[in-house]
């Protein structure tokens, strides 16, 4: 949920000289501001999972809980909370696969126990295969053994499926419990300008935010947790580079015929690489699952237009039928269900290797969003740090977007904590250097892997298909190597 914060000044500034010039102009215009701004140590713009996690981390630590912090979000944060009486026969279509590393951090800062546990689904196995060659790799901690017998302390959970609304509610619950955050919800940032140099104080390096409620806040450290189109990033003059994949992600909440082949205690995630993009089904509690189908914008529009019965049939077909069949099915205006029923009779499949059948789709849960890859040139500037989507937007292929944001928040808490302990100005570029160093390379590597996987599996024929299948089968046969990949995916070491 990107907070929508219209920012009247500074759009489209890329070259550094232009930015310098712009900042000087702002300094002059800010000097006309009537009242002195209120001084804050940390002002976080954006109340999404990354921003909230940062604030919870700061307030949960005795080193940093004395900092004066504020949160600004254009939306009413209470509206984004999970209903207290929410039942287990309906799930949000916006879910994330939280890695054990992210989960541990949320545990450490006291957030996890505020989550609605009955709505979280851990999964223990992952089945991934190539839609062209059918080469397959399965991930579970039993086959991914290290050298030697598996220790009982080793984890069995690959990741936790959780609705984003559940994560956000848990974070808000923890922040309420901790207190000490000045919350400006349903409040827009009208402008961000540099402060002024007066007799007593020189705030000319401090970002000063003018809010729609008339308040003005000066930030020792301004955190941009304000989404892919981050106004904070624009203010800081940090360019963000990348491209659109010309793919859309279709999401939906699916109802299945049962709780899956492994039963309720051994849940399995499935992903089939199709040349148009991967189709993934991730387990939710009970007989539910969540769909993420990356495909062309045209096919996404078609899928969204289908009746629940036809849509469900198309998801079943997406995991079962040939590429030729799928291509034809996307051209039909309607009636996919009957067509698929007939075609499936002539396509022999091993049902045990496939997700159980989709029987229905939750009404109103089918949605799509364009897939983008964006990476800011740096995560820090003077008195500015970027976290989450403001810093990077990733292909959702490995489900790493939310985890990267959580990793950013945890790393920024560590950086701020060290700066406080050693008396550094937490907004200085020197103090922030360690945050950029800790996160930039790691995020860049993860984004590179996701991007390359996307490109690798976009190829429909030729030697690449053979090679990638060979690679997949080879990794599948090598337990320790697979364990390494699983550890990486789980956010471990």
């Amino acid at each position: 949920m990107p907070p929508r914060i219209p920012c009247r000044a500074h759009r489209a500034a890329c070259a550094t000289p232009a930015v310098r010039c712009r900042i000087r102009l702002q300094r002059r215009s800010a000097s006309t501001a009537a009242s002195a701004p209120e001084i804050y140590d940390v002002v976080c713009v954006g109340g999404g999972p990354a921003g909230l996690s940062l604030l919870a981390g700061l307030k949960a630590s005795p080193v940093t809980n004395g900092l004066k912090v504020a949160l600004i979000d254009g939306q009413d944060l209470q509206k984004n909370r999970l209903q207290k009486d929410a039942t287990l026969d309906s799930f949000s279509n916006r879910c994330s696969s939280l890695t054990p590393a992210s989960m541990r951090n949320l545990q450490e800062i006291g957030v996890w126990r505020h989550a609605n546990a009955s709505r979280i689904q851990p999964y223990q196995e992952m089945q991934v295969w190539d839609g062209v060659s059918d080469a397959r790799i399965s991930f579970d901690w039993d086959t991914a053994r290290s050298f030697g017998p598996r220790k009982p302390t080793q984890p069995t959970t690959i990741a936790y499926m959780i609705e984003n609304v559940n994560t956000v509610s848990a974070l808000l619950g923890r922040l309420e419990e901790l207190g000490g955050v000045d919350m400006f919800a349903s409040t827009k940032v009208d402008a961000i300008e540099l402060g002024t140099d007066t007799e007593q104080l020189d705030l000319s390096s401090w970002p000063v935010l003018s809010l729609s409620n008339g308040k003005s806040l000066a930030a020792r450290l301004l955190v941009g947790a304000d989404g892919a189109n981050s106004p904070v990033r624009t203010f800081a003059g940090i360019p963000s580079r990348g491209f659109d994949y010309s793919r859309h992600g279709v999401v939906a909440t699916l109802k299945l015929s049962n709780s899956g082949w492994g039963g309720p205690d051994h849940k399995i995630a499935y992903q089939r690489f199709l040349p148009s993009g991967p189709i993934a089904m991730l387990p939710m509690p009970g007989n539910f699952a969540t769909l993420v189908w990356s495909t062309t914008p045209e096919r996404a529009a078609k899928l969204k237009s289908l009746s629940p019965a036809d849509f469900s049939a198309m998801v079943n077909a997406g995991f079962r039928l040939s590429l030729t069949d799928l291509e034809y099915l996307h051209t039909l205006p309607s009636g996919q269900a009957e067509e698929i029923a007939w075609r499936e009779k002539h396509t022999p499949v091993d049902e045990r290797a496939l997700p159980v059948r989709v029987t229905d789709v939750q009404s109103g849960s089918v949605a799509s969003f364009p897939l983008r890859m964006r990476h800011a040139d740096t995560y820090t500037g003077e008195r500015v740090a970027l976290v989450g989507d403001a810093a990077h937007t990733v292909h959702p292929l490995a489900g790493q977007g939310l985890n990267q944001g959580q990793g950013d928040a945890a790393a920024l808490v560590r950086t701020i904590s060290h700066a406080v302990q050693t008396g550094q100005d937490i907004g200085s570029t020197l103090a922030l250097e360690s945050y950029n160093a800790a996160r930039y390379a790691e995020n860049n590597a993860m984004m590179g892997v996701c991007d390359k996987l996307h490109r690798l599996y976009s190829v429909e024929s030729g030697p690449i298909v053979g090679l990638r299948s060979l690679g997949l089968r080879a990794v599948d046969a090598m337990g320790p190597l697979k364990g390494f990949f699983m550890n990486r995916a789980a956010g471990g070491v």
């Binding site: 001084i39 004395g66 007593q200 104080l201 020189d202 705030l203 000319s204 390096s205 401090w206 020792r220 060290h418 406080v420 302990q421 050693t422 008396g423 550094q424 100005d425 200085s428 570029t429 020197l430």
Partner: protein
């Protein structure tokens, strides 16, 4: 008045095996009788005047000092925590000698346990920079939190009673710029409150430090401004140690050797106090 103090004070033969002449004076009574004379070298003052404008540039000539600063607090915390009868945990008063542009003084003033910081330096230009920079942070610009005084330690009035001394007296990267370390330290010691710490950092006078600070850092890599270091002025950790062993009422000596590793920053290297940059602390008995 800024005469080379070393020529006046008798040279003291050290027991260390250091290869170069020792300027280290250990006269205790004579310096007290003499009128206060500055141990500051005028050529050092003009050198730091020239560096003043770039003091707070994070990628400027003082970058290595900025990067070292967090370690100073790590070392001070370590000293204070190791002490069985620890000095008070809060409301600490700091005296920072040779504060320069205020890198350490500002950071000490920001700590939660700090009541106030007095920071002195004989170089007027860097103090102007320090004052200007202080106004950029409301936390330390508050009256009484951080006070800069343009003076040498000899001209700073001594506390009327020992209890009016400072909890932490710091002397970072200063000793290697001083002509007569012994008398200089004698002037400083009365400012330390009983139970308080004198904490300093400097560089050993060895062939490695000569190679690293004078040849590599200044001439080859250019990461430290040329003329910053005069190797003959360096003081070895063993010399400091021996000197303080002879001072009644001072003890609990602590050292930490550190090394700058390009790409990684300053790292603690056990044993490197013998041949490179090191921290040194000594506590005044309660």
């Amino acid at each position: 008045m800024l005469a080379r103090r070393a020529s006046q004070a008798p040279l003291f033969a050290s027991t260390s095996t250091s290869p170069s002449p020792i300027r280290f004076s250990s006269t205790t009574s004579s310096s007290a009788k003499e009128p206060p004379k500055s141990t500051v070298d005028p050529t050092e003052v003009s050198h730091f005047n020239a560096l003043a404008s770039s003091w707070w540039d994070p990628v400027g000539p003082s970058r290595l000092l900025h990067l070292m600063n967090p370690l100073r607090h790590t070392f001070i915390s370590r000293c204070r925590n190791a002490s069985p009868s620890a000095s008070p945990a809060s409301n600490l008063r700091y005296l920072d000698i040779g504060c320069g542009g205020g890198i350490f003084a500002e950071s000490a003033a920001r700590l939660a346990h700090t009541a106030s910081v007095t920071a002195i330096d004989p170089t007027p230009e860097v103090l102007k920079i320090a004052e200007v920079h202080k106004r950029r942070d409301p936390m330390i610009a508050a009256p009484g939190k951080l006070t800069y005084i343009n003076t040498s330690i000899e001209d700073l009035p001594q506390p009327k009673t020992p209890q009016e001394g400072y909890d932490i007296v710091s002397l970072f990267e200063v000793l290697e710029h001083v002509n007569a370390p012994g008398p200089f330290l004698e002037h400083i010691m009365p400012h330390v409150k009983p139970g308080g710490w004198l904490v300093l950092s400097t560089i050993s006078r060895t062939w490695t430090s000569w190679l690293v600070t004078n040849v590599m850092a200044e001439d080859v890599l250019g990461i430290v401004p040329k003329g910053t270091h005069d190797w003959a002025k360096y003081v070895n950790e063993s010399e400091l140690r021996d000197w303080f062993y002879g001072k009644p009422g001072w003890g609990e000596l602590k050292t930490m050797g550190v090394m700058y590793v390009p790409g990684l920053g300053w790292k603690e290297v056990t044993g490197s106090e013998g041949w490179g940059n090191y921290f040194f602390a000594v506590r005044r008995a309660e």
